[in-house]
């Protein structure tokens, strides 16, 4: 009876462990997919409000902040548009220069083209190690109850 109780304890722990893992629900119904196709538009003006017509634009992507990713020219209204590579999340730095005047703006781009949130969290290795520790904790507890008394 005692052994059966111990076995049940191990089984309960194992079930609880699996319940803690993320599960995916399946159900009947329709499915809708959408794609966010983001464009970034900047408007460059002097302090007087006059547009920086014809100003040079240089865009630096998050994966290489020292090499220009895209270059262009502002239109007559000081506007310039570009489509970021949404597979590269992070900050796009856009530099605008003309006649000795210049400025740089930093635009965050997250997954799917949405604005990104704050950074942080654990790496894959750390998550794996913590998972192993938790699993071993459950196994070790179960084995403790299954130990044979001397």
């Amino acid at each position: 009876m005692c052994i059966k109780w111990k076995i049940c304890t191990v089984i309960i722990f194992t079930v609880v462990l699996f319940l803690m893992l993320p599960m995916q629900a399946h159900a009947h119904g329709s499915k809708i997919e959408y794609v966010v196709d983001m464009m970034i538009e900047i408007v460059a003006t002097y302090d007087s409000g006059e547009p920086m017509s014809g100003a040079q634009v240089v865009v630096y992507a998050p994966d290489d902040i020292s090499t220009p990713w895209l270059t262009g020219i502002c239109d007559d209204e000081g506007r310039y548009s570009f489509k970021p590579d949404t597979s590269m999340t992070g900050t796009y730095d856009v530099q605008v220069r003309q006649a000795g005047h210049g400025d740089i703006v930093h635009i965050p781009v997250g997954d799917g083209g949405t604005m990104s949130g704050s950074s942080g969290g654990y790496s894959t290795g750390q998550i794996a190690l913590m998972s192993v520790c938790v699993i071993w904790g459950f196994i070790g507890t179960g084995l403790y109850f299954l130990r044979r008394k001397a």
Binding site: S66, G100, I104
Partner: protein, 253 residues
């Protein structure tokens, strides 16, 4: 047997956890050299024509710099905000430097001020400095001293312009042909403190109704000043300090 196996596995897991903690913790950070330069641009090195037609050539432009700091900021510092620079990493030069921006002739490079040999690796995207009165040397008692010759319509004026205002500059990222301040492990990067003297005298190559010339004093008031005379200058409004073409927040007193 089973107990020994359990003990061994527990020790292995514990060791792995310790290694993870050590890996997440401190340890040596990557570092390189960050160099600081001062640049008066071609306006100083080659001379220029002021907004009111004076052809100016500089012999010396002594500027005294102190409290020079470079920062890694995230999010990037916006100088238009006028806020205090809050950097995740800061490196500093703890000396006061008087440099001659006109040194080296027409084709000279920007003037090397100093360097930090063990700057933490990363992108230094903000810089601050103060323009202060020199305690000694050719600019003693002044924060900025300009000497040279100006000519207009046959009239030649040898000038010495002394500025006593002390100014603080808080600047964002350098804007120019290439990005600066990216220190790699074992590598060298540089930052530049740029001084736009066309903001003081104006520039004949720029339209007279441009904001630059509308805000500039020109050279005429200096030429008309007798020996020992003074010209009222608001250094805060002149925005002398820049980072390349990038902006700085300026406060003078």
């Amino acid at each position: 047997m089973f107990r020994k196996l359990s003990i061994c596995l527990s020790i292995i897991v514990l060791a792995a956890v310790c290694i993870m903690i050590i890996g997440c913790g401190g340890g040596e950070s990557e570092a390189g050299t960050l160099q600081f330069y001062a640049n008066g641009e071609d306006f100083v090195r080659q001379g220029f024509v002021s907004k009111d037609g004076w052809s100016i050539d500089f012999d010396h432009v002594y500027i005294t710099l102190a409290d020079i700091n470079a920062y890694q900021t995230d999010p990037p510092y916006e100088p238009h905000s006028g806020d205090y620079i809050d950097g995740q990493v800061t490196v500093s030069l703890d000396k006061t430097y008087t440099v001659d921006l006109a040194e080296g002739g027409e084709d000279a490079l920007p003037i090397a001020v100093d360097e930090v040999p063990d700057a933490t690796a990363g992108h230094y995207n903000a810089i601050s400095w103060k323009m202060v009165k020199a305690m000694s040397g050719p600019a003693a008692g002044h924060s900025l001293v300009m000497t040279g010759t100006a000519e207009k319509e046959g009239r030649v004026v040898e000038f010495t312009i002394n500025i006593e205002e002390e100014c603080g500059y808080s600047c964002g990222e350098y804007v120019g042909d290439e990005r600066k301040g990216m220190v790699a492990d074992g590598g060298t990067a540089d930052l530049e403190m740029t001084f736009h003297f066309d903001h003081i005298f104006g520039d004949a190559d720029t339209p007279l109704d441009d904001d630059l010339n509308l805000g500039a004093i020109g050279f005429g008031p200096f030429a008309d000043t007798e020996d020992g005379g003074q010209v009222d200058i608001n250094m805060t409004e002149l925005h002398l300090g820049h980072v390349g073409e990038g902006h700085c927040h300026c406060l003078c007193e």
